[in-house]
């Protein structure tokens, strides 16, 4: 076993542990810290980020209040770069007892905390979203703190003073020796497991400080010490944007959900307090989410309508002293235990309790004790010296716009890896190289990568690519890290997914499952370094019964002009395909849509069915074979309703359009083709454009994957390493072209536009030709021209003398846009029109026949009268179906019947990438064989409304890989039916 010697071992890399380490090092002790994951992985990184003024404890715990205020002042001095001086408002809402106010003010005064009375007028001027019915407001010196940065900088300072930090070292047990003189047990270090190298390490130390918060009891137990912890779980929610710029607390005795903290770009509301048996097994209950939202509503009316990004839970590190009935009643002042005195075990101190705000003070007291035990007199200096700052030359208070300012000053918006949190390539590079990040989650803690609204849609992929290209890790390791990160983001989303965040999750599924096929990544699925999960509660209340809400109905408008033949609502694949097919049959067609949709995000191939249902694990070799079985086993599946014949005719018609548009597609229902993705996985699809066909993985010819410098949506090294891991020979190269170097940003769209230009193609050819090596085909990102891809392909193939193929990846999808442009052009040729920005929100009907739909417009709504209407608004992803936070699911235009799984618990799989898919996404409108929507008794709701594409129930097009296929089959069949009906 590897052995390390130190004098003092600190266990736990949270606020307390790092502060103890820093204090020890500053007083000249040789010391070392071990942390089982990354710094601030535990409770420190999971609290709401509040620098207490102390006012919260002013009434009940004056000692804690005073300590807090003193430390508040110290921390502002020594870590200004971690503290945003937002100030705090204590507000007396109509729900709070005014009798608390005098006690509160008195308590603050006694604890020496400055309070200032603020008029409601001024309060609203500062924070306009607060409830105007608030009756009292007091300003206190609360602030918002970055606990990740603080832990890192504290550790950094400790290192500067000679300390050592070992992350991903999990303590297995304390080492116990016996004092030969007294027979007393002595703790002599610890045995750890190095999770990265997967090996045990023995650390010898003459003194151990147990600073691992809620886990302190577990550690002490390995030395035979009985330490009763009272882990109090607190759940918090992050909202999509700040809402407030001041810390808001309720002026009442501390309770649940009464603190709202602006933290960087988000607002955090917390918290609950629930006693749990084990800090490693937490669950986030739906009542906690509801409670927090309800309490938020009392501070900010309309709170419920704001988007919630995620939920997480931390565990309060309290040691049982008295026998309290409720955790909040225990003194929040901390506890330092010398186990020699308490348990007769030498060499072990436990420091626990307290708050983030008091962590420095706790360290000071602990190290004072260390000095006393070691009989040395070294004064504490941690309150005198400012923490180092790698970001800024001078440590300064941060403000929200800092990142934006930095990017704007240097115009580096093209270097963004995480677009939501404005994390640049340099930030990620620094955390990988300088800070030695081992996982994407480590990069997140250092940079806020993936913590914004999309929860990692783009940056997960980009950071994984950078990790691979900077560290040259094995494919397995990068893949695991990517999986872990997707999963870590998912677990914080699970408790809160509804509304737009549910749509976001579906979008991420489209990217990572449908387009990139991340479930197909080679290598292990189980990771030692993965963040732990929240357990899932199954005590969930069932979804409420469907409310009887009818769509907004407007009286049938007068119109003397002729109705349109067909109005299609939605312009994703299904809407455009249906409009085109209806137009082919002579209908005058109008497409009304809120905006563009699926084509922009898709692979640009035509997926029919890629995996064997219902598990989607085994690749389908022949779509026809699967379909033949599917139409029998699942008679309500859209393919079964449309029939295979309709699909086959649709494909023929589609191919004819592609040929006519000089963008030919290859393939047939008889066989799927496996094509590489931008992750280097293989993705089964049925019909592929000429620009991709040479990527066929069943051929064995070696390939060269070509990327472009500073194009962060495509990492040839990542692709090649994964392809090689699957036995496909691939090399990689990155081109650094002069014409790209001068651009401030390089996106897929920029490259596609450049590829349309022959001079740029020549530049690529000249750079690539001498470096081809012994390959037989070349893979490019899917950016080979937007307007004339065939010309681009031909030019490159002829000049390079090799076959070329495109590899689809992150949105926007250039091949998808080509398909959209092709379909829109076809519709326009048939004198149809496509209107974007005109979402349909209301309807006028006459019995079971829709007369008109109304679209949103400036100042009023506009009616559109037609004979037939097509609903092609998509599912949760397209915005055709929305699920409210009370689990009520709604089809968004006509409020057609949609059914969700009864228990919210059943909506999701625990794993984001679980191939079976999440049951909630099978939600949709049930129809008859003519795609007319049905009510719950099986009756037709509207005879002249047909539903197509993703809005249909009984399928999960993203998991089945059937998105385009279902759009083709249902769109074609419905167009056929409209034509048949009009002839009758």
């Amino acid at each position: 076993m590897k052995r390390i010697h130190t004098d003092i071992l600190v266990i736990g890399g949270g606020a307390t542990g790092t502060s103890v380490l820093r204090d020890l090092a500053m007083r000249g002790f040789r010391c070392l810290l071990v942390e089982r994951r990354d710094l601030a992985y535990g409770t420190t990184g999971r609290y709401h980020g509040l620098l207490h003024s102390g006012a919260r404890y002013a009434v009940k715990d004056p000692q804690a209040a005073r300590e807090c205020f003193e430390e508040n002042q110290v921390l502002r001095r020594i870590m200004p770069q971690c503290i945003e001086d937002t100030g705090g408002f204590y507000v007396l809402t109509p729900f709070d007892d005014p009798a608390y106010v005098p006690q509160f003010l008195n308590g603050c005064r006694n604890a020496g905390i400055p309070v200032e009375d603020i008029s409601i007028y001024n309060m609203l001027a500062e924070e306009p979203l607060l409830d105007p019915r608030i009756q009292g407001c007091f300003h206190l010196p609360d602030a918002s703190a970055d606990s990740f940065l603080a832990a890192n900088l504290t550790a950094e300072s400790a290192r500067e003073h000679g300390a050592e930090v070992l992350t991903y070292h999990e303590v297995d047990r304390l080492l116990i020796a016996n004092n030969s003189d007294s027979g007393q047990s002595i703790v002599a270090g610890a045995v750890c497991h190095d999770l990265i190298k997967n090996e045990d390490v023995q650390i010898d130390a003459s003194l151990v400080v147990n600073a691992c918060g809620a886990w302190a009891g577990k550690i002490a137990f390995t030395a035979g010490i009985h330490l009763i912890m009272i882990p109090g779980k607190g759940t918090m929610l992050a909202l999509n944007h700040r809402l407030v710029n001041t810390v808001i607390s309720r002026c009442r005795p501390p309770s649940d959900g009464d603190i709202l903290v602006p933290a960087h770009t988000v607002a955090v509301i917390g918290t609950t307090d629930v006693r749990v048996a084990d800090p490693d097994h937490l669950s986030i209950e739906s009542w906690e989410i509801r409670l927090m939202v309800d309490e938020g509503e009392k501070i900010i009316p309309g709170f419920k309508q704001h988007r919630i990004l995620r939920a997480w839970a931390g565990v309060r590190p309290l040691i049982q002293g008295a026998d309290p009935s409720d955790d909040r009643d225990i003194s929040r002042a901390f506890v330092l235990l010398d186990h020699a005195e308490r348990d007769g075990v030498e060499g072990l101190l436990t420091i626990s309790g307290g708050k983030w705000t008091t962590s420095r003070k706790m360290a000071q007291v602990t190290v004072d004790k260390v000095c006393q035990k070691l009989k040395v007199d070294r004064p504490c200096r941690t309150h005198l010296e400012v923490l180092p700052s790698h970001e800024r030359k001078s440590a300064a208070h941060p403000f929200l716009g800092d990142r934006l300012k930095k990017i704007e000053q240097n115009s580096t918006y093209g270097e963004l890896i995480c677009e939501c949190e404005l994390v640049s390539m340099q930030d990620v590079e620094q955390s990988i190289i300088a800070s030695n990040a081992a996982t994407l989650d480590d990069i997140r803690r250092a940079t806020r990568l993936g913590m914004g609204p999309c929860q990692g849609t783009f940056c997960t992929f980009r950071a994984a690519g950078l990790l691979q290209s900077l560290r040259h890790l094995e494919a397995d390791q990068v893949n695991l890290s990517l999986r872990d990160f997707l999963h870590e983001r998912w677990k914080g989303n699970l408790p809160i997914l509804s509304g737009q965040q549910l749509r976001q999750a579906r979008f991420n599924e489209l990217v990572y499952v449908n387009v990139l096929n991340a479930p197909g990544l080679p290598g292990d699925r189980i990771s030692r370094l993965a963040a732990d999960d929240y357990s899932r509660s199954d005590t969930d209340a069932p979804a409420p019964p469907r409310a009887d809400i009818s769509p907004t109905v407007i009286p049938v408008p007068l119109a003397q002009s002729e109705p349109q033949d067909v109005i299609v609502i939605g312009a994703g694949f299904s809407g455009l395909i249906t409009a085109w097919q209806a137009g082919l049959r002579g209908s005058k067609t109008t497409v009304l849509t809120r905006g563009w949709g699926t084509p922009y995000w898709s692979s640009g191939c035509i997926d029919i069915i890629g995996f064997h249902p219902p598990d989607h694990v085994e690749t389908a070799d022949s779509p026809r074979e699967i379909l033949t079985r599917l139409v029998i086993s699942s008679p309500n599946h859209p393919y079964s309703l449309a029939g295979i014949a309709a699909l086959e005719s649709a494909i023929q018609s589609f191919q004819a359009l592609c040929d006519a548009s000089n963008y030919p597609f290859h393939g047939s229902l008889d066989a799927n083709i496996l094509l590489p993705t931008s992750l280097g996985t293989l993705r089964p699809t049925c019909m592929v454009p000429s620009t991709m066909v040479s990527g066929d993985a069943s051929q064995h010819s070696p390939m060269l994957i070509v990327g472009f410098d500073r194009f962060y949506d495509f990492f040839p090294g990542l692709i090649a390493s994964n392809l090689n891991a699957q036995g496909i020979l691939a090399a990689d190269i990155i081109l650094d072209l002069p014409s790209l170097r001068k651009l401030k940003f390089i996106t897929g769209t920029v490259l596609a536009t450049l590829f349309d230009d022959p001079t740029f193609r020549q530049e690529v050819i000249d750079a690539l030709k001498p470096r081809l090596g012994k390959v037989e085909r070349i893979g490019f990102p899917a950016v080979l021209g937007l307007h004339s891809p065939m010309e681009v392909l031909e030019h490159l193939q002829t000049s390079l003398g090799l076959r070329l193929f495109e590899i689809p990846g992150l949105p926007p999808s250039i091949p998808g846009i080509r398909l959209q442009n092709m379909l829109v052009a076809a519709i326009q040729r048939q004198h149809g029109v496509v209107y974007t920005g005109m979402p349909v929100t209301k309807v006028s009907f006459d019995g079971k026949s829709i007369h008109s739909v109304w679209s949103e417009a400036a100042a009023r709504q506009t009616p559109h009268h037609a004979k037939t209407f097509i609903l092609a608004t998509g599912g949760i992803l397209g915005g055709g179906i929305s699920v409210a936070d009370n689990a009520y699911a709604q089809e968004t235009v006509f409020d057609l019947q949609v059914t969700t799984p009864e228990h919210r618990f059943d909506w999701f799989q625990p794993e984001f990438l679980a191939p079976q898919g999440h049951p909630i996404f099978r939600i949709g409108v049930s129809t008859d064989a003519e795609f007319c929507p049905l009510d719950d008794t099986g009756g037709i709701i509207y005879f002249n409304l047909h539903v197509v594409g993703n809005a249909l129930a009984n399928c999960d097009p993203l998991r089945e890989r059937s998105l385009e296929g279902i759009a083709l089959a249902s769109g074609f069949r419905v167009a056929e039916l409209i034509a048949e009906r009009s002839q009758q």
Binding site: D131, P132, R133, Q135, N240, H241, N245, T265, P301, Q305, H306, R307, F399, L400, G401, R403, L404, K405, E408, Q409, S411, Y413, G414, E419, C420, P453, C454, T457, Q500, R503, Q504, F507, L558, A559, S561, T590, R594, G595, W596, G597, Y600, L743, F745, T749, T753, P811, P812, I817, Q828, V833, Y835, T836, G837, M838, A857, A858, A859, T862, G878, G879
Partner: protein, 431 residues
Amino acid sequence: MSSSASLISQKLLQGRNFSSPEFTLDQCIKCTICTTACPVAAVTDLFPGPKYEGPQAARFRVPKQVSPDHSVDYCSGCRVCNLVCPSGVKIAELNARARAAWVSSGNLPFRLRLRNNLLARPELLGKLAHPFSPLANRLLSLNSIRHFTEFALRIHHSAPLPRFSPQSFTSWFRSRPNPLSSAKKVVYFHGCSTEYYEPRVGRAAVQVLELNGFEVIVPPQNCCGLPLLSNGEFHAAHRYHHSNVNHLVEYARQGIPILGTSTSCTLTLKEEAPELLDMTDEATRLVAENTYDFNEFLLNLYDQGSLNLNLHPIPLILGYHVPCQYRAHRLGTPGFELLNLIPGLSIVDSHATCCGIAGTYGYKAEKYAISMAVGKPLFNFLTGDLKNSPVVVCDSETCRWQITHATGKPAIHPVELLAKSYGLTIEDALI
């Protein structure tokens, strides 16, 4: 708390606007469609695109801190992003507000702010120059003067400045013989361009309306304030809009429709000003709800069967460009549909997103090249198969000037074709 105070609180609560631009940023799922469709980001790397400027940067902006971003000033405000967003994020409005914050915090150099304020006040320029229009036109057509204004004021020397008309629209309107009196009344909002530069459009509009039996009222009015809004001068824009609402609200109360031939003026009355300036009062709302684009109004008449269809053939093939500000009304293409009623006339839609001028954007020296690059697909369309068409049809004045500047073709409003088809004689008609 007194009951009056609680009443005020109730009012404040009701005033919360959950469709405000800031609120819609929560709807963004980062899908990048807006940035992919943005005509400006497609031609310059000075503008990183609507996703970055709008829902992303908005999360980093705090009211009281100096707005740190300047790239948002490259947003042309064409609103293509709003129209393609599948989630309903009001990106263009987020950008406009960010620009206003940036301007009001004094980040814009004095000279540029002066320039913007000049460009943003077509009414003031019109009033000042109109009495001397021949001289003003002569001066502004001199190359040396234009180069000097570029040097002094950063107004690009090639940008398409319009010519002042010798007679203003309102003086024609007041002096014309035999105006129609009728129980059916409409209010005409002429806007600055019709008043000072293209009164022919207003003359056509008034005569077409009278031919359809409407009495036309032209109340006192001022600039709609859009140029100020798009230059981030919100305080001034607020004054303008407030004054217009005062002039117009009585007509709105009586249910008299307010029509405009300038699509950007009508959009400002309908939506832009109330939304960007947070004007939620009843008068503003009433004016907005009673404002109609000219084509929209006529097409409604057609739908109700009351449009005069006594139209003479115009045997021409003409290119038609729907301005981005017109698309932002979200009405479809009423101009196109209306023109299709004219026998013999064949109208070809450009399907181009934007001509590039975007109000005052293309006049600015630092943005002129971007503006011309944005409009290139449109110019290519108009000078390709349609090169022999005598005129181009376009609803918005600055777009018409830009089109004429870039293609050399005269450009007209649809109402001018309609007037011709009705057999009306319009003074200074281009067709």
